[in-house]
Structure formats: structure tokens, C-alpha cells
């Protein structure tokens, strides 16, 4: 009896084991595709339609689901496991299936002014360390930010430069300069944003800066004047204020084939005006006249030298000296060297050239 029981027990144990194994192993014709990272199992096995018919639909689906899940869990058990707080955890690999994006990919932002410039010039970004050694404080300080190395507003001593007003507060000057720089930076940042979103950016001269130059103010005035309903046509002007030039981007030209005679008239008038502008007295003419007179004197002196001899020498010397001195005076305005240097030779040359012109 006991033997029968033992045999029975053994058989039963074996059966149980087989069942257990059966419950773990699943036989499939085609292997499943697994994407364990996404906990995904894809079953490409054919499904017999007769399993769907009849009352066994639910049963069939349930068993199919159970089998596939079993296979998926088998895959998970193959992964490396670790024990975290008394729980066995398997480390999932990277998912292999590509999921579509939830939102559209972001558009490329338009480059800022600096980025455009850097690209144009080929300037690369240089990696800079965050901390710099400060000799004075003998410690590592930030390159920028709170308690940075070179903060000129935190100087305890500022030398007053020679050309500065002695009563000016140099410390306050530095602080205001810093504030202006910060404001300017902020403005540029906002401008970049506006440009990237194609927003309207106010032109230069309208946003207040510390020192506005004359044309900045002028531009601000014209913009303010034209920002009325009728584009500034009925705005009063100050007594001596000239009507504003066309400051917009559109330049107005005469039509290409306009009135030809009108065009001609205008040009002739312009020529007349230009003609009247030229001065009557010519400095060169006066200088030339002077030079001619001196040349004549020199020629006369040389002639006299040729006629007489030793007696005349004294006279000639004085004549020559006078001529040279005079020429020096006359040619001073033009650049004395060539005239003075070539004076004697020039006089001689003049005689030979007199016939030409």
C-alpha cells in the first residue's frame, strides 16, 4: 500500500513538475519579437479562425494572452537583476522601437546679431574657466557674477584722471555706467527676441539711452511727429523748423522717362549756378604773373651780363641775387624747392623754350 502511495506520490509530483514547466514554457511556431525596454512583445503567429468561433473565444484569447505574457516575463528574467530594498529589480535595456513625437520638432531659432557676426568672421567660442585666481584676495574668484575678480564698481580707490572734473563722483560714475551697460544688454536681448519672433522693434533713438546724439533726437522727433492718424501732415511746426526729409526707407526719384525738356532746364540752371561759383581771381594766375616778371628780369640781367664783362659783374650778382630772392618769395606758395633749385637753369631753359608756346 505504501509503495503504491509512494509511486502515486512520485507520479503526482512528476505531473506537477511537468505542469509547472508547462506553465512556464510556451510552445510557439514563430518566436516572438521582444522590445524589453518598452515591455513589448510582438506575436506574429497565425491565429486559426476556428478558435474564434464558438464559445471558446474568451478562453482562447485568455490563453493566448497568458502565453505571450509568460514569454515576455521569461525575457525579463533573462536580464541582469539586482536587489534593491529586498525587491528583485531587473534593469531594462534601451527601447528599440521608435515612438512618434508628441509635438512638432522645434524650429531653428534665427541667429542673434552676435551669432551672425561671429559666423561671418569665423569666431569660435572659447571655453573659459569659471574660477580665476585673484592675486589680491589670494583665492579663487568667479570670472563673472557675485564677488567676481574684476568688479570695477567695488574699487575702494579710484584715481581721478587729469582731464576730469575734480568735483565729479567717480564711484557714482562707474555705477551709472554699469547700469547703462546692463540696460543696453537687456535691450539687445529683447531686440533679439523680437527679431526672432518677427515682432516690431522700436528704432534707435526712441528707447532712452544716457547720451542721445543730435541725430538720435532728431530721429525720435520725426518718428513722434509721424505717429499720428494722418502721418504727421497736420502737425504744427516750430517757427524756424524745416519740413522733415523723407526718413523712411523709400527714396523718391524722378520718373525714368520724365519730361526731357524740364530735365534739361534744371541741368542748365545747375550749370549756371556752378559757373557763377568759381572765383574770379586766380591765385595761380597771380603767381604765374609774378614768375613771368621775374623770369623777364633774369633774362634781362643775363643779357646785360653777356654784353658787358667784369665791370658789370657786381651789378649782375646783385641782379641775380635779387632774382633768386624774389623767386623764392614768389614760389613759396607753390613749394619753393623746384622753383628755387631750377631757378638759374630754368631761366636758361626758358629762353630755348620761348619759341614753342
Amino acid at each position: 500500500m505504501a509503495e503504491c502511495n509512494v509511486d502515486e506520490l512520485l507520479a503526482k509530483a512528476q505531473q506537477d513538475e511537468a505542469e509547472k514547466l508547462r506553465s512556464i514554457t510556451v510552445h510557439k511556431e514563430l518566436d516572438l519579437e521582444f522590445d524589453v525596454g518598452n515591455l513589448l512583445a510582438i506575436d506574429n503567429n497565425r491565429i486559426e479562425t476556428r478558435d474564434f468561433k464558438g464559445q471558446n473565444k474568451e478562453e482562447f484569447l485568455r490563453s493566448l494572452a497568458r502565453d505571450n505574457t509568460q514569454l515576455l516575463i521569461n525575457e525579463i528574467w533573462k536580464l541582469p537583476t539586482e536587489r534593491v530594498e529586498e525587491v528583485i529589480v531587473a534593469k531594462l535595456p534601451e527601447p528599440t522601437t521608435l515612438l512618434p513625437r508628441e509635438k512638432r520638432p522645434p524650429k531653428a531659432k534665427p541667429a542673434t546679431k552676435w551669432e551672425q557676426f561671429a559666423k561671418l568672421k569665423g569666431i569660435q567660442k572659447k571655453k573659459k574657466t569659471n574660477l580665476v585666481w585673484d592675486e589680491n584676495a589670494k583665492e579663487w574668484r568667479r570670472r563673472w557674477g557675485y564677488k567676481r575678480v574684476k568688479d570695477d564698481t567695488k574699487e575702494w580707490l579710484i584715481e581721478v584722471p587729469e582731464n576730469a572734473d575734480p568735483n565729479e563722483d567717480q564711484f557714482a560714475k562707474r555705477v551709472t555706467a554699469k547700469k547703462e551697460r546692463v540696460a543696453k544688454n537687456e535691450l539687445n536681448r529683447l531686440r533679439n527676441i523680437a527679431r526672432s519672433q518677427k515682432g516690431k522693434v522700436p528704432g534707435v533713438g526712441l528707447t532712452p539711452t544716457a547720451q542721445q546724439s543730435k541725430d538720435d533726437l532728431g530721429r525720435a522727433v520725426t518718428v513722434a511727429k509721424t505717429s499720428t492718424a494722418s502721418m504727421g501732415r497736420f502737425q504744427d511746426r516750430l517757427p524756424k523748423e524745416k519740413p522733415a526729409k523723407n526718413m523712411g526707407k523709400k527714396r523718391k526719384f524722378e520718373p525714368l522717362i520724365g519730361d526731357f525738356s524740364n530735365e534739361r532746364q534744371k541741368q542748365l540752371e545747375l550749370l549756371k549756378v556752378l559757373g557763377n561759383k568759381t572765383p574770379k581771381l586766380d591765385i595761380t594766375k597771380a603767381v604765374n604773373k609774378q614768375m613771368r616778371e621775374e623770369d623777364r628780369e633774369e633774362a634781362a640781367a643775363k643779357y646785360r651780363k653777356g654784353a658787358g664783362k667784369k665791370g658789370r659783374k657786381g651789378n649782375n650778382m646783385s641782379g641775380k641775387g635779387k632774382g633768386k630772392g624774389g623767386k623764392g618769395k614768389g614760389v613759396k606758395g607753390k613749394g619753393g624747392k623746384p622753383g628755387g633749385g631750377g631757378g638759374g637753369g630754368g631761366g636758361g631753359k626758358k629762353r630755348s623754350k620761348a619759341g614753342k608756346h
Binding site: L256, F260, G275, K334, P338, G341, G346, K349
Partner: protein, 180 residues
């Protein structure tokens, strides 16, 4: 293409009057037809109205040149006279310079004219006056600026420059691709 504005016309006429003086009105007001100046891509062209009307049928980017190019406006709105204007400067030139046969080639290569190469020069030429350069056979070679007045020319040494070169006929070969 567009007509010149007042300022541009003024600059251009000032430049031209340096070379041809008051004869510009013979260019503006011609008995044999209406001629006009037009600006295209910073270059000034002189053409008859007939040509102008034909040129309006060509698009701006395809239009290379109309009539004769007188010169161009630089980026800083200065007017620069080109050699292509020589045909209109030569007959109306007020101050002329004739150059010896040996120096012709040197001038045509772009060098300045030295006193040794000077043949003749019109009387009463001021210094820095615009002059047209001719060969001894009265063929216009180009134009330039007188470096010395006629009086000074007479007494200066042979190696000094008397005419600064500005444009010469050799540029038609040298600067072929930039001339329009």
C-alpha cells in the same frame, strides 16, 4: 535705372567741368537730339532718349550697359570718371597736353607723364587742372590732372611729374572686365 538726383548731378557736373569747363551745356543741350544721363547700378550712362526708351524693356538685373558709361559713383558718393567718357571729353577739352611719341607707351601703361615726355601744353593751365592727354598726332590718349601749372612746367627738372595719370586708352585692355 533712374535719373540722377540733384546732388548727384551736381557732383558729376563739377567733375566734368574740371575737364571741359562750361562746354558741359553742349552735352546737356544738343542740337541733334535729346540726350540724357541715367544712373544704373551706381554707374552714370549718357544716352539718347531713343536708346533710353528701348532700354526700358530690359530688366534691371539683365541690363549691363546703356549708351556710354561716363563714370561711376563710389560708395562714398564721389564721382569717378572712366576712360569710356573720353569720346565726349576730347572734343570739348579746355586744357590739353601733348605727349612725345616715346612717352605715349608709358602713359598707355598707366604711368604718369614726366617733364621729359611732355611735348606741348596749353598756356595758362593751372595746377591740378583736369587735362586731356593727346599724342603728337592729335589722337586722344586719355586724361589726367596737371601736376604743375604751365609756368612751373617750364622751369622744373626733367624727371618730375607734370601730369598725373587718371585714365588712358590702354585701360580698355587692362580693365576689360570692369569697364561697362
Amino acid at each position: 535705372m533712374r535719373p540722377l538726383t540733384e546732388e548727384e548731378t551736381k557732383t558729376m557736373f563739377e567733375k566734368l567741368s574740371k575737364y571741359i569747363g562750361e562746354n558741359i551745356k553742349l552735352l546737356v543741350d544738343r542740337p541733334d537730339g535729346t540726350y540724357c544721363f541715367r544712373l544704373h547700378k551706381d554707374r552714370v550712362y549718357y544716352m539718347s532718349e531713343k536708346i533710353l526708351k528701348l532700354a526700358t524693356n530690359i530688366s534691371r538685373d539683365k541690363l549691363v550697359s546703356v549708351g556710354t558709361c561716363f563714370g561711376k559713383f563710389t560708395k562714398t558718393s564721389k564721382f569717378r570718371l572712366h576712360i569710356t567718357a573720353l569720346d565726349f571729353l576730347a572734343p570739348y577739352a579746355k586744357f590739353k597736353v601733348w605727349v612725345k611719341p616715346g612717352t605715349e607707351q608709358s602713359f598707355l601703361y598707366g604711368n604718369h607723364v614726366l617733364k621729359s615726355g611732355l611735348g606741348r601744353i596749353t598756356e595758362n593751365t593751372e595746377q591740378y587742372q583736369g587735362v586731356v592727354v593727346y599724342s603728337m598726332a592729335d589722337v586722344p590718349l586719355g586724361f589726367g590732372v596737371a601736376a604743375k601749372s604751365t609756368q612751373e612746367c617750364r622751369r622744373v627738372d626733367p624727371m618730375s611729374i607734370v601730369v598725373f595719370h587718371q585714365a588712358d586708352v590702354g585701360e580698355f585692355i587692362r580693365n576689360e572686365d570692369t569697364l561697362t
